[in-house]
């Protein structure tokens, strides 16, 4: 049971994080792994949309998200953040892009800063899964067709009709219920006002069942 490290605060990432990091075995050890990933992160910041193997894309995506979120959180005057950015971005002019372009772009973003798609695998060819990794708000045309106007799809039309019918039935039932409740309340009122006479009491008891 380890204590959480609170010396350096971080923001919650807006993507799902793998519980374990991939090892990417490397002759240089863990540092070699970081060096490998930083090439991808630099390329992502430079080109804004890249196609690569899936495992590396997923891993690099987490680091890119962390870098942007730290940059948003601490800004460019924070020493540790600047050092980290310096380590992760190999082409140094991109550090300016991170703090001056990407930070304003994502400052008020409620979703993740990057987006990842599974890409088709070349056939015949290696069996590796492929992925497309991109920064949100990039200048390229979108990869997927737009499905915003899906109201005219057949099942949506059918569901619309079903909805109308279902609701009308439901509201009718509710109205009936209220009416009956009102009636019941009226009856109770009547009983309360006419409680004094024994005859009426008897009549009410007849009505009740």
């Amino acid at each position: 049971m380890n204590q959480a490290d609170i010396s350096h605060l971080v923001s919650r990432l807006k993507i799902q994080v793998n519980p374990r990091l991939r090892k990417f075995r490397n002759p240089e050890g863990p540092l070699g792994r970081l060096k490998k990933l930083r090439k991808t992160v630099t390329a992502l910041f430079k080109h804004e949309r890249i196609e690569l193997n899936y495992p590396r894309a997923e891993e690099a995506r987490m680091y890119a998200e962390r870098l942007i979120s730290d940059a948003i959180r601490y800004g460019d005057c924070h020493k540790t953040t600047m050092e980290t950015a310096d380590f992760w971005i190999e082409e140094k002019q991109l550090i300016h892009k991170l703090f001056k372009v990407l930070v304003p772009r994502y400052e008020h973003s409620q979703t993740s800063y990057t987006r990842m798609y599974r890409a088709p695998r070349p056939y015949p060819g290696p069996m590796h899964k492929k992925a497309v990794l991109e920064l949100r708000g990039n200048p390229y045309p979108p990869l997927l067709p737009d499905f915003v106007s899906n109201r005219n799809l057949i099942h949506n039309v059918l569901l619309d009709e079903a909805k109308k019918e279902y609701r009308s039935q439901k509201y009718a039932e509710i109205a009936a219920k209220i009416e009956s409740a009102e009636k019941g309340a009226l009856q109770i009122e009547n009983t309360a006002s006419e409680k004094s006479s024994i005859e009426q009491n008897a009549s009410v008891s007849e009505q009740k069942p």
């Binding site: 569901l159 619309d160 909805k163 279902y166």
Partner: protein, 362 residues
Amino acid sequence: MALSQIIKQPTMKLLEEKFLALSIQSCSAIQSRNKQVAPQPRLRNPTWLTKKNRVIHDDFLTADNAQFVQEVIKDRYDVPPKVELPKNTVEWTPKLKRTGVIARKIGELPLWLKTGKKISTTLLQVLDNHVIKYFTPEEYDPPRKRPTRIKNKAGCLLLGAEATDPTYLTKEYCMLFKNSGVIPKKHLARFFISPDAALPPGTPITAQHFSVGNYVDVRGLTKYRGFQGVMKRHGFKGMPASHGVTKTHRRGGNIGGGGEKGRVWPGTKMPGHMGNRYRFAKGLKIWRINTKLNVLWVSGIAVPGATNSLVYIYDTNLPRRKPSNPLAFPTYFGLGDAVAEEDIYEESLHRFSDPTIVFQKE
């Protein structure tokens, strides 16, 4: 003359029939010699093992329609099913077998006794269990037919746990829940019970099915560790690191003698897949129950499975740990006037809200 032509002749046909009859007779004669052998098991899954998850296509529903689907589900299942409690219940006796429950292992925490001793416990959260169906002993058709020597016949109770969104499930799976009136559940489990312990469909089962101080058996799927060597899998000692040992530091060594018995005996401990099997942790004491969140604290940290994995809790079958006081039979219905405490502790347990322990002279 060809053989087929001979067979076509009526006399030959008769002969053939006779021959076949003879052969069948002789076969049955051989079988009758092995009367006591149990019949071959029939491979047939229980009726509730249907395909569970629907293939999900993206339907591009509008937000309104998606909301409408959820509304229908809510209207359909929001009302808890009306259950008629069993009327002629019998008193619990040690020979009766109650149902178990489906639970989730949620972690491990220390507790302290009044003597100042620290014990480690595992927390098991009893999920929203509901009875789905009861199969009487006659109805329940086990895949393997046993010889008729079983005296105490057991019924089978099907429990479901963890309500889920029915739109993700297949129609066949949802139909299993139709008669019970509960919302389709993610997990199903069967429990063999005495016919007296039968419960009507829709009955909820809570953590108070068990009581503090009693013992339970917990069954879970152990963590899968892949293909492992004998040192990790069976706790072998391995061989020395040096002193002329080459290439056999973590190996098992000899696996048997030669000569007449020169073969690998069944059950020899060797490398192989480790874990990913259902295992019991037996005789765990219940120390504490939280009735609000349905959590049990049971002793030990050896409950099989990872944190957040499913486990099944049964009354213990260890003869010396059977409960002395009568249990809630067939389950706890909460009919008494007194509202249960939020936290029920075992007597010897220190409550965190109690004052500091002081060791006094007797």
